[in-house]
Amino acid sequence: MIDLIVTPFLDFAFMRRALLGCIAISIGATPIGVFLMLRRMSLTGDAMAHAILPGAAVGFLVSGLSLGAMTIGGLIAGMAVALLSGFVTRMTALKEDASMAAFYLISLAGGVLIISVNGNSVDLLHVLFGTVLALNDDALILLCSITTITWFALAVLFRPLVLECADPQFLASVSQLSAITHFGFLALVVLNLVAGFQALGTLMSVGLMILPAAAARFWATGIAGMISVAILVAVASSITGLLLSYHASLPTGPAIILVAGALYAASVIVGPQGSLMARYLPRPHLQS
């Protein structure tokens, strides 16, 4: 049993790298996912992942498979969409979901256009889907740095973020920090998605951000508790997914996300907080 779990990582450097990369994403992205969930912005993660695409595509076209160019391109495109949609939300009558949707769709269409017009080199979707089995040193350093930055930024933003989750009107009325918190948080979302697309691809990395957070909702009530459970779920999914891919010969990215999905499904059913069982199968009172 130990052999089945440990040997792949001992024998192959690419497995250790994949594991480190996934753990970095798990620790960095899941707290972001928890806040997204609490602010009812879970779908924003998906929207932002699409918004990154044109930037990464332009980066790829300018300088090939360069980590730096694609990361910077993705960051610029993601931040542009975050800022523009935030600006429209705060300054006009349009609500956040609609303005976000509008800008990410424009961005996505731009990305597809750029890819198709120049689509005769290496298939860009392959590039954008990344592969967790091919993480080189630069990619690992980037992943770990972004996770570190995320935690420092969260440490600074934690209190206003929690307030913004609980009562955004109150925060806006007592402090100037509301806008800064909002944009800072969106910047962190973009940063983590850009990190994730190196390893899992833009779309899969959203999975590792949102699914563990959604699962954690059924196990803990406090924010700290939820973040802890979410990280545990994400790390467990990463390890299990990698091992599944190794032993059962399955593609790695989907394997990891599907394990996270299975853990989410289990949580929906048996979790102690607000799950199906907790609500509809109340434990019989013990009779003495």
């Binding site: 792949p8 024998d11 192959f12 450097a13 690419f14 497995m15 790298r17 994949a18 498979l65 198709s116 689509g119 005769n120 080199s121 290496v122 298939d123 979707l125 392959h126 590039v127 889907f129 592969t131 089995l133 091919a134 993480l135 080189n136 990698l242 891919s245 190794y246 032993h247 059962a248 010969s249 399955l250 593609p251 790695t252 990215g253 989907p254 394997a255």
Partner: protein, 313 residues
């Protein structure tokens, strides 16, 4: 005034069929750059070849454009590789309402199965997912042009299709085909000699996707790849691990990147096994005209030169 117009009109009418005649090259379409080059060699001056998937493009996952549909609709003959290589082409031909001839270049080629000769993996486990990867093409390997023996069949098929579509050009097509076939035979002999000069133990290499099955079978080399025959599938950790184990066991000296695929995975594999990157092989597409593989013959020569340079001790 009236006269002038009349004169102009008459001249125009008189010139029209003439200019149409001057333009009267046979418009044909080839699905990808390698096939396009062969068609151009056989067709010579009498045809205009349009290639749908251009140089360095990946024909496995191509997304056709409306312009492609127009090109196909206007063509007299459409040349395809067949063997499930261009999965997107059937829909394109249907959508463009093309009614002309579809010439399948691999007609008469002995198709290789994925897990056959040239892929003699040591472990039985390997065969399982090798077959899985082949499912995209119904279990056959479409990269038949990688052996010059097959390229000769391609050329005969192309010549036949062109003669059927344009019987007046028969003499020209036949002459072109004969000359081209002779050239191919010479290159074939060159490749045989080059591979024969390599020591037996150093005829095993790794590439990014399984495109060299026919080359392997024809010239006695062994190719391994983490991706299957189609570039669409994502490799699993098991595939990569099996490849690394095998490379270590057989002391495979070099890996080669391809012009159409993502090279990051191979770079990671080399760093783990100590094999070196031997260069770029052209598998499914030519380079641009100024590149090292502007034509099919240049491509085969380039691939063999790259292989032998890296594998010589």
């Amino acid at each position: 005034m009236n006269r002038r117009i009349l004169l102009g009109l008459t001249t125009a009418i008189a010139i029209l069929p003439l200019s149409a005649f001057a333009q009267d090259k046979l418009p044909v379409v080839a699905s990808f750059s390698i096939l396009g080059d062969m068609v151009a060699e056989v067709g010579g001056e009498r045809v205009t070849v349009t290639t749908l998937v251009g140089p360095d493009g990946d024909a496995h996952v191509y997304e056709p454009t409306p312009a492609d549909a127009q090109t196909v609709a206007a063509a007299q003959v459409v040349f395809v590789n067949g063997l499930g290589f261009e999965g997107w082409l059937d829909r394109l031909i249907e959508a463009s309402e093309y009614k002309g001839t579809i010439a399948v270049a691999t007609e008469g080629v002995t198709a290789l199965k994925m897990a056959e000769e040239g892929h003699d993996h040591a472990e039985g486990e390997e065969h399982d997912h090798a077959e899985e990867a082949g499912h995209d093409h119904g279990g056959t390997d479409p990269h038949a042009w990688q052996s010059i023996g097959n390229a000769r069949i391609y050329v005969s098929n192309i010549a036949q299709a062109l003669i059927a579509a344009d019987p007046e050009g028969e003499a020209i097509y036949s002459a072109n085909a004969t000359a081209y076939l002779a050239e191919l035979s010479a290159v074939d002999a060159e490749i045989q000699a080059a591979i024969a000069s390599l020591p037996e133990a150093r005829r095993s290499v790794v590439t990014s996707h399984d495109a060299f099955g026919y080359f392997a079978a024809a010239y006695g080399m062994t190719f391994h790849a983490p991706e299957g025959q189609s570039t669409e599938a994502e490799p699993s950790a098991a595939d990569v691990a099996a490849l690394i184990t095998q490379m270590k066991a057989e002391a495979i000296p070099a890996v080669f990147v391809e012009n159409i695929t993502d090279s990051r995975l191979l770079e990671q594999i080399t760093s783990e096994t100590g094999a070196k990157i031997g260069g770029t092989l052209f598998s499914d597409a030519l380079s641009g005209p100024d590149g090292p593989a502007g034509t099919y013959i240049a491509m085969m020569r380039h691939n063999v030169a790259t292989l032998t340079a890296a594998l010589k001790e």
